[in-house]
């Protein structure tokens, strides 16, 4: 790879203007890391802030010509090292691209790469619309960034990961071409209304690509009529199996559960001791397994029917309805901040190991997480939520004291071991970090295909190399 020299910097400055490029050490330092604690930082050589797709295209053409490694970045809230740049590389920060266009008759909206979920939510609210998937970092993370990692959050229990909302993307390829997927590949289309247009799912190629196949500059999403009727409740179970079956049966019976989580009693009790009072959650002797669930429907009659059915399903499985609503109320009503609060209210730094597990294997993930925490003498948690058709999105944390380097090293080792153990349980990574597939022979053919696609789109290997499974 080549160094980003002064001549290249001048070329980039001519594209974006002097005020939108920096090579200052203090500025570069702030791009050397992200919200990913427990990862080594790395200083880029320059950071550039384009305002338009055209500027991004020109930037990538230059980077490709000079073989400069590029790390695209928007909100900077990713948690598994996705936007930590390479030493000497170029960070392309996209927060200036903050346009929103609504297509009411197409039931869709298109957002620039710098639009956060909070911004989008506020924009859509007066139209009585929403995009019903809210990453837990909604106030910081951008739609484009979340699509690049295929995120999920409250809302996903009914609507799936953000991928399910995407109708198309505008992407600048590493070689600088601008590609539009979905219906907007037809410039005469009225806008985004169908994802599967013009052959294979090219949109899907870029979802979850972690910025390694191109820079997503726009995302088009489905919009829905905003739900304003909710039922909040907690359901207690004696066994993990009952709780797992409860989640499955909610999905099978079309109970429109926007957000549901299983909590182990001891972890829930601990977090309630810490934050329960802040969220007005009454003290309770929580059972071995609690499901906290928010059901939402457009119509009140649908909601009443769903809420009744949820209770019946719970009781039929041998559980009991706890009737403490404050926990799911806090999870749902404050969904744009509550998870950040519970992740940062305590003083630990942490590494997260996002993964998907099928609900009936929920207990397997929990067992492995506890086993690793105990083996490495670490603290952490086993949180997650129901998502998509039949999946459970885990986001366990492994905690460390930032002033304790040996403890941080243990977390890194534990993190890697946990991914390998989880792979053996049949779990799949939320984001394809290298340690999931290192030395896993069953994945070789799959990874070879990913490598071929990467080589085709990024012949000079400039786009965030290594972020996608080490490729």
């Amino acid at each position: 790879m080549c160094t980003l020299d002064a001549g290249v910097v001048r070329q980039l400055a001519r594209i974006v203007g002097d005020e939108n490029i920096s090579t200052r050490k203090d500025v570069l330092l702030t791009y050397s890391a992200s919200a990913s604690t427990g990862y080594d930082s790395s200083m880029p050589e320059a950071v550039v802030r384009p305002a338009t797709t055209e500027e991004v295209s020109k930037i990538l053409k230059i980077a490709n010509k000079h073989r400069i490694i590029v790390t695209p970045r928007s909100g900077g809230s990713s948690l598994q090292g996705e936007v930590i740049p390479r030493s000497g590389g170029l960070v392309v920060e996209l927060m200036r691209m903050n346009q929103i266009s609504l297509y009411q008759d197409l039931r869709s909206v298109t957002v620039g790469a710098g639009v956060t979920f909070g911004m989008l939510d506020k924009f859509l609210n007066p139209f009585d619309l929403w995009v019903p998937v809210y990453p837990e970092s909604s106030l910081v993370c951008t739609v484009a960034g979340n699509v690049a990692v295929n995120g999920a959050g409250p809302g996903s229990s009914a609507y799936g990961c953000i991928a399910e909302m995407v109708l198309g993307v505008e992407v600048v390829l590493p070689t600088g071409e601008v590609i539009q997927t979905g219906t907007e590949a037809n410039p005469k289309a009225p806008g985004p209304f169908l994802r599967y247009a013009f052959g294979p799912d090219m949109t899907g190629l870029f979802i979850g690509s972690l910025g390694s196949l191109g820079v997503i500059t726009k995302v088009s999403l489905k919009t829905f009529k905003r739900i304003r009727n909710f039922d909040y409740n907690t359901y207690g179970f004696e066994t993990a199996e009952q709780a797992e079956q409860f989640l499955l049966k909610l999905r099978e019976n079309d109970v429109h559960t926007l957000f549901a989580s299983i909590y182990e009693g001891r972890i829930l009790q601990f977090f309630m001791d810490m934050l329960g009072e802040e969220y007005g959650i009454p003290k309770h002797d929580w059972p071995p397994f609690t499901v906290s669930a928010t059901i939402g429907r457009v119509r009140q009659d649908q909601l009443a029917s769903d809420a009744k059915l949820a209770r019946e399903i719970c009781e039929a499985l041998g559980g009991h309805v706890i009737d403490i609503a404050e926990l799911p109320v806090g999870e749902w009503d404050d969904r744009m901040r509550t998870f950040a609060r519970s992740s940062y209210a305590h003083g630990w730094h942490w590494r997260i190991l996002y993964h998907h597990q099928t609900p009936t294997n929920w207990h397997k993930s929990v067992e492995e997480i506890w086993a690793v925490m105990d083996k490495y003498r670490l603290l952490g948690h086993t949180a997650g939520f129901l998502t998509d058709h039949a999946s459970y999105n885990f986001y366990p944390h492994l905690y460390f004291d930032p002033a304790d380097k040996p403890e941080e090293e243990r977390v890194r080792a534990a993190h890697e071991e946990l991914s390998q153990r989880l792979f053996q349980t049949g779990a799949v990574p939320f984001k394809l970090a290298p340690y999931w597939v290192n030395g896993v022979p069953e994945m070789e053919t799959y990874l070879a295909l990913v490598a071929r696609m990467k080589k085709t789109l990024d012949p000079n290997g400039i786009m965030n190399p290594g972020v996608l499974g080490g490729i």
Binding site: E19, N20, S22, R24, K25, D26, V27, L29, T30, Y31, A33, S34, A35, T37, V47, R49, G75, G76, S77, E93, M95, R96, T116, G118, M119, D121, K122, N125, S137, L139, V140, D333, M336, R337, A340, R341, S343, Y344, A345, H346, G347, H349, P402, A403
Partner: protein, 386 residues
Amino acid sequence: MGDIDLDVLKEELLQCRRCGLCRNAVYEAKGFDGVCPVWKNTNGFETGFMRGKIMVALALLDGILEKTQENAEALYTCTLCGNCTQICPAAFKPSKAIEQVRDVLNEIPNEVRDSIAEKIDAHDNPYLDGKSRKRDWTEALSFSVPTIADTLYFAGCTAGMKLPEVATDSARVLNAAGVVFAVMEEEPCCGSVMLRTGKRENARANAQRVVDAIVKTGAKRVVVSCAGCLRTLKDDYAQFGLKLPEVVHIVEFAADLIKDGRLKPKRVQTPMKVTYHDPCHLGREMGVYDSPREVLKSIPDIELVEMETNRATAMCCGAGGGLKSYSPEAAKRIAADRIRSAEKIGASYIVTSCPFCELNLEAGSSAIASRVDVVDVVNLLAQSLQ
């Protein structure tokens, strides 16, 4: 306010896990429409908002970044407005931490910071060399003002020297309520800007002088017009272990006087559509949100409308934390942004209760040739009492 413990400060700074909520969170349900005025109105790099500033602070403290003026720039390009502290999900106060970092790292050269402190030390004001003439505004009053009384009106440097109509109108309001008040012959500076810009030792010495001067007046109550003076005299001095009589902002006092029937506002003129800008020191820091609004609502024919961000989530005017001196262009752009918020809701006036906010909002309004006028609550109140 004991000495800053560096280990504790670093532990506080490490509470930042770089989540980024402090940048531009739009959280409609909680009243946030953006967080950081500096990020929004400057070049928008990570150094523009608190996450980046804390990274810089830690790097400077750990010796990863050399202690130069350029490297410390991010630390001073901040109004310490505290909006980030409001939304931060971690258990520490980011804006307070940066204020402390400024002090711990005050060996890094900063001409603006040092010249302001020198002026205050030598001349009791941050604006001019030479005698401050901070009592001159009393000559415009139709009544005389003693130097000793149970109530002391502490005009502050900005009202006393730059916006004398705030001081004269505050005096008229007090007079109208029959409050006998004094103004010091030589009013010292509260020293707020020294505290915010990392000159704590100077601020502490100055604070003792201020307390001695106020105590000498025998006053049982101190009334201020400036949000910065209020916070400093009431909150920061207490942390220094210094005791003052009751300190109250004129808008709080006036609200009580109106409730007690000692002030009876009348119509000002034709109906006015106004919006109230919450000064950071008065609102977020001291929790005073209702009194100024009560005063405005008590004046007939004033229609009060709220800007998109108000009260605890009000966007800063851009003046504070030393920014107005350190980076006047940035301060002006931030103020212009705030003026646009007032324009957006159709207000003809943006009303506030801090002369320093007013000064900067006026600069912002001029910069964009806005029709929104900037006035103080006391200006309208005094008018309504004529």
